[in-house]
Amino acid sequence: MRLDPRVPSGPLEYRWTKCKNELQLVAPANRRKYTLIVVGSGLAGASAAATLGELGYNVRCFCYQDSPRRAHSIAAQGGINAAKNYQNDNDSVWRLFYDTIKGGDFRARESNVYRLAELSMNIIDQCVAQGVPFAREYGGLLANRSFGGALVSRTFYARGQTGQQLLLGAYQALQRQVAAGTVQMFPRTEMLDLIVVDGKARGIVTRDLETGKIDVHLGHAVILATGGYANVFYLSTNAKNSNATAIWRSYKRGALFANPCFTQIHPTCIPATGEYQSKLTLMSESLRNDGRIWVPKNKGDKRPPNEIPEEERDYYLERMYPSYGNLAPRDIASRAAKRVCDEGRGVGPTGYGVYLDFSDAIKRLGRKVIEDRYGNLFEMYERITGENPYEVPMRIYPASHYTMGGLWVDYHLMSTIPGLFVIGEANFSDHGANRLGASALMQGLADGYFIVPYTVPHYLATTKLDPVPEDHPACREAVENVRSMIKRLLSINGRRTVDSFHRQLGQIVWEYCGMSRNAQGLKKALELIPALREEFWENVRVPGSDEEVNQSLEKAGRVADFLELAELMCLDALAREESCGAHFREEYQTPDGEALRDDERFCHVAAWEYQGPDRPPVRHQEELVFEFVTPTVRSYK
């Protein structure tokens, strides 16, 4: 299979313009004849559904939550990047592009990333016009803060709730279209299969999570905006119900899955406390602007932090990366934390934690300033841990947070199945092997507001799409597939709960395919995961029936998919014999422990093709061509 990324040629700055000029249009009167299916209602899904509805298409939007406003974009705290150069610190589209592609360790497409940087400015304009209450200066201008991996101040924010405010903006735009009748919303509805007719994506099979009713929804294109798969680790910063089912089942229908091993571990989360732990809570990376990260110099130093004198503290990020210091990118900060804890210098009851200390900042700026900047984050920390971070340093530890991998898409954000578009975190496109802070919100909104509203119409205008009846064999087959899986899950009646399998899977993936990986461990995981999957299908207990609210059944289907996806992650991590970004293979590191890329052999996207349940997937490659930047060793020293 040849993967055609459909990247325009010519100067980088004009590529998106050139592409747009060449895209075909759909006449206004014809738009309502097209039905578009949008799955997911986060930043990407809500912005795409609202914008396509506004253009006059007939949109159906689905989410598993009780309202589109709950999608997990809402939990993003820190901010959104844009190359506005409002701070006059010599920021530019080029610089945002360069920081993003370097932050991704040169494993993303130049053209996509440049477009993202270009669109970043339109996003801020759009959100402000919608009434998003971004932070302001006293003169009434928009305020900015700095963020990991950048030397300029380009992050726009709304206290520690930027994702919430951006999502509510997109949600309100969506509700406006619901009222206008262009978008029909299906909350508490989960996509369980993709319907492919004549090689094109034409619909989805859904389950109503209240009544259990299985339905077929047909349309002319399907847009997946279902987020990432970090919950494969069980403990992650994702919402409890975030899942990979939509993208995974589309993969099994022929969409290629790209770079599944590129998963990001966020350095600043609240450490886990016990087995009952259901999720991990992120503390915004913006805290690293003013907090200093340290551990005791001596192993096993159990003194309370305020009794450890300055000279016995190791501010290890400042020591190892003097120019970026506490603002080193996420992957680097996470691995450094793991290293000091593995050396036995970790803090807290489990020894898996490091201090994030604000005492210097409070001394320098006063408590009031810190309160203004991070007040709600400090409250959140205190609520969860029972400790007051104004007085005692926070304890943090890395946790699984974001997945750069996802379904492969071309420059139009279309997968290898024509008519199946994938946007936001669900695709693999813009962040390479590591995402910089405040870039996820930017990507979700760029994809939804400004890219698919142009590329989807082009697909509709240039593709012959015959009507598909609801009793088409492809629909019947997909429905049968869904029904038989549900029936099977309910009939096993074993002894273990779904969560117990999920927890065990998470431990395996965290141990062998987490912050650092090696061939031996990955091979072990590739034995453990299929064995666990086999046990799952023999011994899981899913109570209740399929004709009612059944949260165990919902979880069971999602965990069944994670049990397969985890294997693909390990295969991908094993095949990528280099370290890059968040993918750190212990065999490939520099003498001082930094990631060692292999541009000769691995300057490509790995895209996996499903071959059926009994055959291993096939690995395809899309070569990455760097015409405008030279991949360098990423240095933050």
């Binding site: 009780d66 939990a75 801020i124 016009a129 709304a158 919402a239 609210v549 165990s552």
Partner: protein, 259 residues
């Protein structure tokens, strides 16, 4: 510690419900309230019983999906805290707690502690937005907003739409929710063109959904996990009054007359 729970169990929208007693003997004080229910549910499944259905998603207090009454208080006893962020260290060994769903005509119970809050989405759809087409926005810094105004708008915009205000109100009113959105958008220069129509439309929808009126009990503010202030309701009344007197669009006259 040992916690005794009386949980409202209701099979679906149409069945009657009742309290059922459960005991969780080994609660860790560092658990969140929902993690304690997870542990209970794991046991119920292992014993072949139906686990307790409750909504939750982000579990960090921002998505607004979780929420139920604990001893008659929405989200439980800790101020400005959703139930997913409420930790068991705030309870004592041997505590006996009654858990029940939000009670309001406009929030039908779906199962156990889950309710249908789609009425809130319909209130937003009635006018809780600024009509700005994608692509038609002016340059962001061309709209200057004094910091104090932006901060006040943010305070109102922090609402998570959980419905605790409705559950707390003796009249099951959704005025704190509706007032917060009217305030957020009505304070901003971008929100001025639609300010009064918005108030009329959103209030009309709120009443059509079967939410009650405000009698200044103030329970909503006390229960709100995000600290949304009751002054938002005053602002809503003000915009609504001005709109009713001066700017009522003719097509909405009939609706407003019915109020």
């Amino acid at each position: 510690m040992r916690i005794i729970l009386h949980i409202w169990r209701q099979k679906n929208r149409h069945s009657p419900g009742k309290f059922v007693r459960y005991e969780v003997p080994d609660v860790n004080p560092h658990m969140s309230f929902l993690e304690m229910l997870d542990v209970l549910n794991e046991r119920l499944i292992e014993q072949g019983e139906d686990p307790v259905a409750f909504d939750s998603d982000c579990r960090e207090g921002i998505c607004g999906m979780c929420g139920f009454m604990i001893n008659g208080i929405p989200h439980g006893p800790l101020r400005e805290t959703t139930v997913c962020q409420l930790h068991m260290r705030h309870f004592k060994d041997g505590d006996e707690l009654w858990l029940e769903p939000w009670r309001a005509k406009a929030f039908p119970v779906i199962k156990d502690l889950m309710v249908d809050r789609s009425a809130l989405d319909r209130i937003i759809a009635a006018g809780g937005y600024i009509s700005v087409r994608t692509g038609s926005a002016p340059e962001a810094n061309s709209i200057l907003i004094p910091k104090q105004i932006a901060d006040r708008a943010f305070d109102a915009a922090a609402c998570i739409g959980c419905g605790a205000c409705v559950a707390a109100c003796p009249n099951a009113s959704a005025m704190l929710f509706t007032g917060a959105k009217i305030t957020h958008l009505g304070l901003l220069p971008q929100g001025q063109p639609e300010r009064y129509e918005r108030a009329i439309r959103m209030v009309a929808q709120m009443q059509a959904e079967g939410f009650g009126a405000c009698s200044n009990a103030g329970e909503c503010e006390a229960a709100c996990p995000k600290g949304i202030k009751i002054e938002n309701i005053a602002r809503m009344f003000r915009d609504f009054a001005v709109a009713s007197a001066t700017r009522r669009p003719p097509s909405l006259k009939a609706e407003a007359a019915a109020l």
